[in-house]
Amino acid sequence: MTQIRVGLGTCGISAGGEAVYQELVEELKKHNLEIEVNETGCMGMCYDEVLVEVVEDYDNYLYAKVTTDRVKSIVEEHLVKGLPIEDWIVKPGNGQAGDNFLKLQDRIVLRNCGHINPTSIDDYIEKQGYEAIQTVLNTLTPAELIDKIKNSGLRGRGGGGFSTGMKWQFASQSESDKKYIICNADEGDPGAFMDRSVLEGDPHSVIEGMMIGAYAIGADEGYIYVRAEYPLAIKRLQLAIKQCNEKNFLGNNIFGSDQNFKIKIKQGAGAFVCGEETALIFSIEGKRGVPRVRPPFPTDRGLWGKPTCINNVETLANIPWIINRGWEAFAQKGTEKSKGTKVFALAGKIVKSGLAEVPMGMTINQIVFDVGGGIKDGKAFKAVQMGGPSGGCIPASMGDLRIDYDEITKTGAIMGSGGLIVLDETTCMVDLAKFFLNFTQNESCGKCTFCRIGTKKMLEILERITMGDGKEGDIELLEDLAGKIKSSSLCGLGQTAPNPVLTTIKYFREEYEEHIRNKKCPAHNCPALLTYTIDPEKCTGCTICAKKCPTQAITGEAKQVHVINQDSCINCGQCFDVCRFDAVEKV
């Protein structure tokens, strides 16, 4: 039976997926074809959206960059005449864009994303769904289960990298009449969208992971704390929970056992700090999300004062796979201390932005060049930023570094939740550090003095450096403040906030010095340190730059060389963008 799947994750919808879906349904109707059209989650190949997959009995055809105009041809050629349009198809091995992107991946967490209809529980069940929880309930004691997860070597994928098995053990050892398990889906790092894609594309795998975790620690109630900014993920989770309730997968005596388990969704209200465990708990309790001192750890005193285990979305999505395939299979993948795979959200100056799940131990170069297809527009690879505002930049010269929690921590960056932003020669590292510090400074809850005031002061210093007012000693001042913020902040936000600044100073110190001493931005990025000029050799006098200039700083007659008056130029760069003859230069 032929079936069609349209990728309708947030990325697919933004690229026009819903219109393609509608068009498909209509075209099929026109030709009287009774073919099922289903929506599916993100296939990870966001650079090729809208993706439409035609699933036939023996073969799959994945169409990339589908537009409503192309739908008609696909229906007429492929579905009516049976002639797939090879030029538009992505397939491993045919030299198309999708080639290595999928081939080099190892999909555990994303095993179902893009393959099943996330709104159908039966689709999930068909893919071994809810088998793991039944195995666990019927054959394992909580202690045996925890041992398996410990042996698998799974570490928290939210960024901390703490052993999941250990965390479960602590929570299970806490004596209490009531315990909670929380799924942390407050994915707040700018540039990270792994958890969203899993929730949108395979919500049941996360729910099953929670069920197994609940059994391990002895919880009968779970919360999913998800960002309100992820409306589609929330919708799909709500539906998935409803389906589970109907099938008695959730509720009392689940799967005929003596276990009770229910799940509630709590929507976050937009505060980055709520990704921190204790802040997240306060937020669920309806308070300001301000972290508190640990210990007591949430596994001892958490939600409403009861032992609470908090696991990240990606961590939980790994669990059913580990039970179904065995911890040995999981522990075989990866490096000595970092097992399994990691999902990365590739973005920035990379050819193929999207989601890639790779085995731990792969090098940064392999991810950027082999999986991600290299740098956009033939520019030079400068660095990757890992771990978002808590992480740091790893320079291109260290591209052979392997993906491993401890190896990455040694560089000053962190594994983080999986945002991997690729930077090229046009990215200014001082500006990037400023960008992240601006973010953390905004998101600081204000409890700890050094985090509240220190990040503000660091931001002011970075601002003056990028404005051309940097002073000798500013770098040392930044380093000094950074150390103090790290040592005097209560939670992860403050302790890691200086990382983007420290790593860029560590690996790109000369760039800071160039800004401070010579008032130049080597990446030609900081507007205050740039001068725009017009090359008289190249200027054709087309007048387009003069028309675009918001301050009328460009003068010149038609077909004559134009000149920029530096006194009224505000360095907005519009002339540079519109010039078709590369006559405008940044110096």
């Binding site: 933004s14 707040g188 700018p190 209200a269 937009g270 309790e285 932003i421 519009q574």
Partner: protein
Amino acid sequence: MDIIGKKEIDHFKRDLIDKKKQDGSLIPLLQSAQDTYGYIPERAIYYISELVGIPAAEIYGVITFYSQFRLKPLGKNIIRICEGTACHVNGAKSILSILQNELGISVGETSDDGLYTLQSVACLGCCSLAPVIMINDETHGNLTTASLTKIIKKQKRIEKIKSSYDAN
């Protein structure tokens, strides 16, 4: 002698408060107030305060802590600019300055005619389309200064037609 002493009454009250706490209902209540009104009006704060027994000042503290909550009404059209990392390195800054120029408002403000509100978000999550803005529910990606100017002009034309239609 009272059958129910002070201790029992206190316990009863604590129990009630505990039950309310167990719901953690404040944030969902605020979210539904905002869904209803588009923002959180002052009277809603007092109403919720009575309902859950939390002082209005504390509720105000919660509202201002979370970026989702607004104390002022929104414009008719909401333009959201993504300030995620991918957008940042792909030129979100110049996109923002054009938006501000064209609309005459800064981030977080609503235009005097009540037509536009400009918001910034940490990440819209479609990094492959960077730089990105959203006008109401529609995403516009891979923006350049030129394409953005066109999009805003078009949006303004639509608004103009709509308002003349409404006037008639």
